[in-house]
Amino acid sequence: MPDLMSVVTTLAMIVVVFGAVLLHVAYLTYFERKVLGHMQDRLGPMEVGYHGLLQPIADGLKLFFKEDIIPTGANKIIFTVAPIISLVPALIAFAVIPFSDRGPIADINIAILYILALSSIGAYGILLGGWASNSKYSLLGGLRSAAQVISYELALGMSLVGVLLLSGSLSLAAIAQGQAGGFWHWYAFAFPAPQFVAFVIYLLSAIAETNRLPFDLPEAESELVAGFFTEYSGMRFAFFFLAEYANMILVSCVGAILFLGGWQAPFDFLPSTGWWGVFWFLPKVYFLLFLFFWIRATLPRLRYDQLMRLGWKIMIPLALANILITSFLAFVTR
């Protein structure tokens, strides 16, 4: 039976993290549009507020007040539930993300398994939403999403194994703690087995997992209108949208913790305790998020067979080889 004080602090942390994540999601859309715009020599949103700073709020209000349409042939229950199935796992996964050395909301010792499991459940939302819409575009988008998520989750999970071998823990807080003492101790560069190959595989699989360009086959505009959320509008559409961006933040957080040292400062003479941890953690997350937009602005969408070939013939063998080499080196130098 936990005492009242700890319950209150936990609730307060939940509220703070939840609010921060939702605010980040809102302004991530703004950030994306600005980055994409400037990379294409445009300005991005400029009208609402100073340099368009209120644009996410205006968009949110618009989506909130839009008419709620359920197509005639759609399965009403699944159609309603699918966006929630998509959004909730993306948000509750943040319970295990440690933002500083004070640890996450819930420090469980299987945090990585928990996150992988939840990201797989999120794929159900996409698949069910695509099926329940009773539209060919949605169905094809959902099917593509299912195939893509299965292919890339293997590579994603296996790219994490190297880090787990080195750290000997599945808890994100323990993994980040193990990378203390300068950037050469971060697992992306760490002796004895630098995990930069795994880092690249992780990033590519993460982009594919979150259905971002160049792997956005489930919602390829030129082929499938909008993919699995063709029939969605208003708040339900906003849920899918929120889920996509929350997932982006989530995979960026996980990547920053596993490969870039989480809240650890880049040099060991710099402080990384308390709020300093957040100070070091956020730039890493922002850099990874920027990388998402950067890659989106640079690369065209893959064809479907190219996507599958990249996943099964290149990423998974590479990840397996990385596990072998890492475990060998870790065993030798132990």
């Binding site: 020599d41 300005l43 640079t298």
Partner: protein, 186 residues
């Protein structure tokens, strides 16, 4: 062989993708070419071809003589001229009605070139979007108002129309003796 190895290395280290990434990153700092339209308007060229207008002389008389050459010159059948004689002066004509369908106009400017009295002019106005298609059918009055708005300082009526010189020319033309059938017989 060596080229194959470099190609393989390039593929492994994603060289081409990194080059693409540097290109897009450089463009992040290139000055954007967007013009914030309603706040910042473009400089329209001096001879910009916008909405058509009809002109007047300095004394307020319409320049148009209702010849209908603009109607003939128009490639998309935009113009409709109903010509009429001026009351009391049978030799002078004017456009009793002048219709200009802006929804079909291609802004080629052929009508302006065809006009013998320079009665047509293209204004620099390009903001004529409307929610009602009928607003795009311009009548003579609208076009004259547009002309007054955009080209207010027009020259006076040239001497050759209706002036004493022209009257004398007409008189001499009437007095001139043309050979007729009776002349041949006589």
């Amino acid at each position: 062989m060596a080229s194959r190895i470099t190609r393989l290395l390039k593929t492994i280290f994603l060289v081409e993708i990194l080059r693409g990434l540097t290109l897009t990153f450089r463009h992040l700092f290139v000055r954007s070419i967007t013009r914030q339209y309603p706040h910042e308007r473009p400089d329209v060229a001096k001879r910009f071809r916008g909405v058509m207008s009809l002109l007047r002389y300095q004394d307020g008389g319409e320049k148009c003589v209702g010849c209908g050459l603009c109607e003939v010159a128009c490639p998309s059948n935009v113009i409709k001229v109903v010509s009429a004689e001026r009351e009391g002066t049978p030799l002078k004509r004017y456009a009793r009605e002048y219709w200009f369908d802006l929804s079909r106009c291609v802004f080629c400017g052929f009508c302006v070139e065809a006009c013998p009295v320079d009665a047509l002019a293209m204004t620099p106005n390009y903001e004529y979007a409307t929610t009602n298609k009928r607003d795009l059918l311009l009548s003579k009055e609208t076009m004259l108002a547009l002309g007054d708005q955009y080209f207010p300082n027009q020259p006076p009526k040239p001497a050759y129309i209706g002036s004493c010189e022209s009257e004398m020319y007409l008189l001499s033309a009437k007095q001139q003796h043309y050979p007729t059938k009776s002349d041949d017989q006589g």
